[in-house]
């Protein structure tokens, strides 16, 4: 792929002038943090997205795929993170879907089984062809996806974070199979941010950061430390002045919290920490290491199976979202479109959506229009929300201004704990700066506590007072003083190269 650039409709530059290649019989690792542009790049290769510029050259010929079908026909196979399978059908049926063999009028199940068996024997991918998908483990289902690509004679195989869902044993097995594929002349693009796996498996590593290629290097010339430094880094170091936090009473107390994800696996595994008034506790980590599940559990939008979460001394288990908010929790959710706001409603209505039933905004059984308008205008002024009018639908606003509306609502709700999950994702620099300053202001002046979850290293390092690093649902590191943390150190903990011992981590609960 040469000089690939992709700019999305909202102006977000996902890929900028990317050139990379994969050779025959090679396992190439494509590494980078979330949002570095790996997935976009692969979608372009697979015909799911069209680039603005650049070209794809396959075996010396320029190609351009309008849709995945063309890419498949050209010999490119993709194993998606979310498996493309029909659960109640058998393995063989899923494998041959779209290219079903027939015998007379009937679908030829025997031949489908044979086709599946043949590929699975050749590459040592042991799956029972007549089993139903819903009876298989995640690892086996992944093999089905690989077989699906191989039956269609894929020569280049893209594996999008294949080990994210696997157990260590399944991962070992997958690696053996990938090596067999390489020996059979296939090329593999292995997308990951697990460096130990990359080092063990891949021949070459290409690193992406913020949509750009940082480097491409043979694995033998690299070590994990080098890759981590290429992957994680701040492009611009900004700094915000802030007074040191004065710890007050405990507001949030998490003890041995366990959350399960939809697969029944532990997304958050026995995590304990405290948040005090007047401070910001940051959580750093590569996305998908349990931060999100924890935020949902604390705000009542998700469940937790074991342990306890106390807000201002009250256990939140069994309380609904409204009751938890009443205990003093405010939530800036990760997804402002889906959870944070109602797009069709006005700025004003979004601002009062959590308090329209409260006395202060009511006159008898009705909503007090004047009070609501005054409140909305005050918010718009204070938070510098750029909108035509308080009655403008919120979806007409830019991402940054939409986020300001949500921040304004959550910061004025009277809560003394703010859970801010990726509060500045995808917003402009000015808004970022304002939201961060407000967050610091609020903790210092009003003595509230804040939990800041962010994939932006700049943000967690600048804004938080204390810092946790999440890795695989556990706390990998705890820093009492964020000022002492270096990026390199943080990167190593985030990517699982190092873990602190239990004693050091336990201090987080102090």
């Amino acid at each position: 792929m040469q000089n690939i650039s992709k700019i999305y409709g909202n102006g977000f530059v996902a890929n900028k002038d990317i050139t990379f290649s994969v050779n025959e019989k090679e396992i190439l690792a494509l590494v980078g943090e979330n949002g570095a542009g790996k997935t976009t790049l692969m979608k372009i290769l697979f015909g799911m997205e069209q680039p603005q510029s650049g070209q794809i050259i396959l075996e010396g010929k320029e190609v351009r795929f309008q849709n995945p079908i063309e890419a498949i026909a050209a010999g490119i196979g993709m194993v998606h993170q979310h498996f493309m399978q029909a659960l109640s059908l058998t393995v063989a049926e899923n494998v041959v879907l779209g290219i079903e063999p027939t015998k007379g009028l009937c679908f030829d199940m025997e031949k489908a089984v044979r086709m599946t068996q043949e590929v699975s024997d050749r590459y040592d991918l042991r799956v029972e062809a007549r089993a139903r998908i819903c009876d298989l483990s995640i690892g086996q289902r992944q093999k089905v996806e690989i077989i699906k690509a191989l039956v269609r004679e894929a020569r280049i195989l893209v594996l999008d974070e294949p080990t994210a869902v696997l157990t260590p044993q399944e991962t070992e097995e997958l690696f053996e199979q990938i090596k067999i594929l390489r020996e059979n002349g296939h090329s593999i693009i292995f997308i990951s941010h697990k460096l130990d796996e990359v080092m063990r498996l891949c021949d070459r590593v290409t690193v992406l950061r913020r949509g750009r290629i940082i480097g491409s290097e043979k694995t033998e010339n690299l070590n994990e430390r080098k890759i981590s430094r290429m992957m994680v880094g701040r492009d611009v170091v900004t700094s915000i002045d802030k007074e040191p936090a004065r710890s007050r009473e405990t507001i949030l107390e998490c003890r041995d919290v366990v959350c399960l994800n939809e697969n029944g696996r532990k997304a958050v595994n026995q995590i304990s920490f405290n948040i005090h008034g007047g401070e910001i506790l940051g959580i750093a980590g590569v996305e998908g290491n349990g931060q999100n599940e924890l935020a949902l559990a604390i705000t009542g939008m998700g469940n937790y199976e074991c342990g306890s979460i106390r807000v201002n001394g009250q256990e939140i288990k069994g309380r609904d979202i409204d009751q938890i908010r009443a205990l003093g929790v405010a939530h800036i959710s990760e997804d402002r479109m889906r959870m944070g706001s109602a797009g069709e409603l006005s700025v004003k209505e979004n601002l009062i959506s959590d308090r329209m039933f409260k006395k202060e905004f009511r006159r008898g059984p009705f909503i007090d229009r004047k009070k609501v308008n005054d409140f909305a205008d005050a918010c718009i002024r204070e938070y510098e929300i750029a909108c035509d009018h308080r009655d403008e639908p919120i979806r007409m606003l830019s991402g940054g201004n939409m986020q300001k509306v949500i921040v304004a609502r959550e910061f004025t709700s009277g809560a003394n704990l703010i859970v801010a999950n990726q509060p500045t994702r995808g917003v402009d620099i000015g808004t970022c700066d304002m939201i961060r300053r407000k967050l610091i202001d609020k903790t210092r002046k009003d003595g509230i506590g804040a939990l800041l979850i962010s994939a932006d290293l700049n943000e967690v390092l600048e804004v938080s007072d204390r810092l946790l690093v999440f890795y695989k649902g556990k706390i990998a590191a705890y820093f009492e003083n964020v000022k002492e943390v270096t990026e390199e150190e943080l990167g190593e903990y985030m990517l699982g190269l190092k873990t602190m011992n239990q004693e050091q981590i336990r201090e987080a609960a102090g």
């Binding site: 995945p68 079908i69 498949i72 998606h80 498996f83 493309m84 399978q85 029909a86 659960l87 109640s88 059908l89 049926e93 899923n94 879907l97 779209g98 290219i99 079903e100 027939t102 009028l105 009937c106 679908f107 199940m109 699906k148 366990v258 399960l260 029944g264 199976e305 074991c306």
Partner: protein, 318 residues
Amino acid sequence: MLETYWNVEWIGSFLFSVIRISTPLIFAALGACFTKKAGLLNMALESMMLVGALCGVLASAASQSLFLGFLGAVAGAVAIAGIICYCAFFLKTDLYLTSISINLAASGGTVFILYLVCGQKSTSAGILKSLTIPKLTIPLIEKIPVLGAAVSGHNVLTYVAFFCVFLVYFLLKKTRIGLRIKSVGENPHAAESVGISVRRIQTISFLISGVFCGCAGAFMSMGYVSWFARDMLAGRGFISMSATNISNASPFLSMLSAMMFGLSQAIANALQITSAPAELVSALPYIMTILLVMLFALIRIGRRRRKMAKLAGAIQEE
């Protein structure tokens, strides 16, 4: 009072009526199996059957050919399916709102056409010389007490309906189109990713549904009775839809649940000659529908609860 019912003759004729009443329900429920497997609810079974019934009467009266009459019924129902597909899958209207409006339009539209043709709005009886599909007596079995009375002497279409259960099973289980329909219903993204057009498969499933509803319509106006009457389906489409849904679109279970509803209708008919309140009795099949749907939902909830309890128990043990 029991003696009036509890004799061999009565039981035979009661079972006969159960099968007779179940016939259109089985056809429509089988039709709904296809759309349900494709992931969609066919709420327009009612109008497909109604239009099929009218077209059967009109075509057979006009051509005086049984075959063309039957073909007309099927064509009418498939045409309704086609209109729905065009609106919902190509013009992207909401499928369920479209189905509801088609149902309402069919209810009024059939009366309108009936009035144009017959000059009156309630029934075509005595005005249109439409044909009926013949009955079939089965030699030998006819002679067996009870069974003979119950099973022999039905309309040809009744036997076709039971045969179709196997046909549907075969189509869904053993053919390429069946496989594709199921894959679209379970995971449209998966189907799309291997080059299957979801829209086309959904359209095909509705058209097949239309064929079965056409058979049901033909049975109603050319077998069950020998005329067309306004709103003669009286909710059978929706009853069939529930039959398919509670049996998770398995053709055999769909047939069985359709017959459960047929049974309750037959009981209602039998009770009409007693002193039981007539309004309550005629509501019986519909009450039965709600009760069965609730029962199946409760079973499903119980199953899920047990599964979750097991999962939580496993974690506690760790």
